[in-house]
Subunit: 329 residues, 2 copies
């Protein structure tokens, strides 16, 4: 089985590729992995399958035509520019995050039609809780409206709609999964407004100072990179019939406040780690974060077998197991 990861050079793409090596897919053995991204991805270590690395911009329709012609059996569409960049560069955001997705669906439809319906790949679109916008209920349920307050969120919501309609018409076999904020992100701090959720855990564990730009009572929705990769493979293995007419799923996660994150850090790594968190309130970040979802009550995704961590302590331990390069606390 040939599989394709769009956005294969990113953090989540790498986690997913590594999981394909260790766990594979229930739907069939992976024989070839194609990694596509704007920069060259890296073949995962220890793979029994062939890895092909391709580069290109999915805003370019030709890229999608070329990729669809390879007829991958499973496609994970993780390619996107992040929220902050999509907000700062309107055209780039819409070109990559929405028109790019539409080109991909059109290219897959062309292959479906050329094959008289024989080719109908499973497409897993990595959507985001950014499709939701304030005001929110205490917990967001599976029937809550999408009213995004960022271009990124609108682009994700529109791609979900396209995926659902192309799937309903039988051109693809597709679904969208709305990922929680992935935490603890490994590596260096990035420019995302959400970066501090990982930073206040990762930096102290590595003996570094971390900046906390929001108040301790900010509540948010998290899942580990390991869970996110598992959501993606589980979505690829899911029985299409179980989705019914609703092909966008809110993923499970852990809802906690920044204070609870810090308490968990204290339990796992002690008060010295906690002391490395420095509070530097940032009004701009607070203004963004106050429009973000805080908590969910997903029912469909757990019923379909998606599972997240049971607590933020577990999320920290997964970081230590999977990504931490120092001496474990």
């Amino acid at each position: 089985m040939k599989v394709l990861i769009l956005g294969g050079a990113g953090m989540l793409g790498r986690k997913l590729a590594a999981r394909l090596v260790t766990h594979g897919l229930a739907r069939g053995a992976v024989t070839e992995l194609i990694l596509h991204d704007i920069v060259a991805g890296e073949a995962p270590a220890g793979a029994a399958f062939k890895t092909t690395v391709l580069t290109g911009n999915i805003a370019d329709a030709d890229q999608s035509t070329r990729l669809a012609a390879l007829k991958p059996d499973v496609i994970w569409h993780l390619a996107a520019i992040v929220s902050g960049e999509a907000e700062a560069n309107f055209d780039k955001g819409w070109d990559i995050n929405a028109r790019g997705s539409w080109h991909l669906l059109e290219a897959l439809r062309a292959q479906n039609e050329a094959s008289k319906g024989a080719y109908r790949p499973r497409l897993v679109f990595a959507s985001s809780i950014a499709v939701f916008g304030a005001p929110f209920p205490a917990q967001i349920d599976d029937d809550f409206l999408c009213a995004p307050q960022t271009s990124y969120g609108a682009q994700k919501a529109i791609t979900e709609m396209l995926v659902a309609d192309y799937a309903r018409k039988g051109f693809i076999d597709g679904l969208s999964i709305r990922l929680p904020t992935v935490c603890v992100r490994p590596g260096k701090p990035n420019a995302a407004a959400s970066g501090f959720f990982s930073g206040i855990i990762r930096e102290p564990l590595n003996g570094l100072e971390a900046i906390l730009p929001v108040s301790d009572d900010v509540r948010h929705w998290h899942a580990s990179p390991r869970s996110a990769a598992k959501f993606l493979t589980h979505a690829a293995d899911l029985d299409e019939a179980a989705l019914g007419g609703r092909r966008s799923l809110n993923m499970p996660g852990v809802s906690c406040t920044v204070a609870e994150q810090i308490e968990a850090l204290g339990r796992v790594a002690g008060s010295d780690a906690v002391a490395l968190i420095r509070r530097v309130p940032d009004d701009a970040i607070m203004a963004i974060v106050k429009n973000w979802p805080r908590d969910f009550a997903p029912e469909r995704s757990p019923a379909l077998g998606f599972e997240a961590e049971s607590s933020f302590d577990v999320i920290i331990r997964i970081y230590l197991e999977d990504d931490f390069e120092g001496v474990r606390p």
Copy 2:
């Protein structure tokens, strides 16, 4: 004030143009009306303002560029191909109902940017309850998700998202109103699957037999053409600040069953009219209709001053007052 109706030759466009003649807009006097449609519209009778009639296909980006260059102060976007046609002709539906809307928004944004923000028209997008898909709660509230089960519904939902994001960024001043099924539609029966909701009232009032293809317990959501036109002008006059971050509104309407429609017909026009309804069950139409919304509990739109009929009896009387050409019962 220059105003533009896209889809100005259709039933709703004509009703809106006529209302501009009789009631105008609260936001300012209309000095020029531009009617754009694929076929030539007709200037409304008795207008004190100039009417300009233009023809073209909004799937063609050049049309939008030309229309935006006219810098209308208010734009009603009613242009669309109907649900059945969008379902039968996938490309045509997406080209007209979604790409066409996007071209329009891009053309308006270009004018906004060229004018350094001085030009920022009010855009009223005529959306539809087709953005919703089954399963439904007993009543759909203002926070219910969009999960369309037709391409037409997906195209409307995507245009709503685009309108909201272009408005949020300040390129336009826009909102979307989700119209109930407009009933009683004047004129001849049309090919729409929803046509019978009007047909079972209009044909008997005109002494003609009407076919009822669904069972009497089918419940649906209606508003008169007069209300729909009033929604459109009220949306043009609405204070933008009152919308907050949610620029799609479920319009008020009348929820009733086919049996209740027929009882209302009996009260208004007697049992002879009712006797002209012939039951010819049609499985194909029933399969479509069972996925349609049945009832709503809108709170925001009534709070913002949108008002529909109080009963289906009133809807029938409005047909008799506004569109009936025979001798009134």
